[in-house]
Symmetry: C2
Subunit: 196 residues, 2 copies
């Protein structure tokens, strides 16, 4: 059964980036150990601690498609069409870049969050869909389309920045107790979204 999950690395005070979009100390856990975890993009190498390695492997190996916002796509140059998790990316965007067919042949552009997640589900097959942008996560949570919220919680207070979560009109959103993995420079938390 395909699961739709979001995964972000977040400061203890809720930020996934500084106001200038830089990640500051957030990604230190990706190179805080000596266990190599393969990435599909040769420009990205993970070397994590022994506790973080299985969860990172699982997030990577189980991922059948990634849903990202257009802003993240633009900021990363579309990961050169090779996202480190190794899966095709579905970009939520009103427009398709002119050179998309040549530069990002594996990447799909879909207008609207619900449609993008549906498309990602088709691509993922038996594997999971991972949402990689905060704004898309927020919209998908409000639409009830997220099965699991994953957070790699980093021991730092940013004070200000780009938040993982945002206000929504639907009242409090209840989660189940999480799976907890204590890694180096990140505590990994996987919260199933409560249903019914």
């Amino acid at each position: 059964m395909t699961k739709v999950q979001s995964h972000m690395t977040m400061s203890l005070d809720g930020f996934i980036a500084q106001p200038d979009d830089q990640v500051g100390e957030l990604f230190e856990w990706y190179e805080a150990g000596d266990v190599a975890v393969p990435s599909a993009n040769e420009r990205v190498e993970f070397r994590v601690d022994a506790a973080s390695a299985p969860i990172l492997k699982e997030l990577t190996e189980h991922c059948g498609a990634i849903v990202a916002g257009r802003r993240l796509f633009d900021m990363t140059g579309g990961w050169d069409d090779r996202h480190p998790a190794g899966a095709p990316v579905v970009v939520v965007s009103h427009t398709v870049p002119e050179d998309a067919a040549e530069r990002w042949p594996r990447t799909v552009f879909v207008d609207g969050v619900a449609a993008a997640i549906e498309r990602a589900r088709q691509i993922a097959g038996e594997r999971d869909v991972t949402i990689a942008s905060a704004t898309i996560t927020q919209q998908a949570l409000a639409l009830g389309l997220v099965d699991e919220v994953c957070v790699s919680l980093v021991p730092v207070l940013f004070g200000e920045g780009v938040p993982y979560f945002a206000a929504f009109d639907t009242g409090h959103l209840l989660l189940e107790d999480p799976e907890v993995v204590q890694g180096k420079r990140a505590v990994h938390l996987r919260y199933p979204v409560r249903r019914g």
Copy 2:
């Protein structure tokens, strides 16, 4: 050695209360189990799960003085001079209530965060000082007066409310990797503040 720590129960998106100051689902963990933890205030009873009990006992037993803001003091009626943690309360306040001597004989009123923490240290002796208000925590963190940041992290997204942390002028505040205890309806995280 007296340690100055803050402890708050916080939603995954960083809030310690709703916009109307109510705690919503946050305090469910205080009654989510069948292990009774004594409180110094007979109106407050804790019944927590087996994993949460030792950390709650430790927070309570090691607490030699509590520092609270005036707003929290007013909201709780000054805990009737008997804070559940059993320790005297030092209230940061510009003014002293007229009936303080009769209604709150154990409670101390001090003008200013640094002075209040210093006074609480004297009262605590060998035991710890616990900061129980978010605004006081924020000011104490900015002043470098906090040794440990404790969070009972609850699996709920509020969307809006009263935040635990706030912006500060001193850049990112780095914490050490936390002690982690996985309780029912709360993951307890104790972060030493990084020094130097």
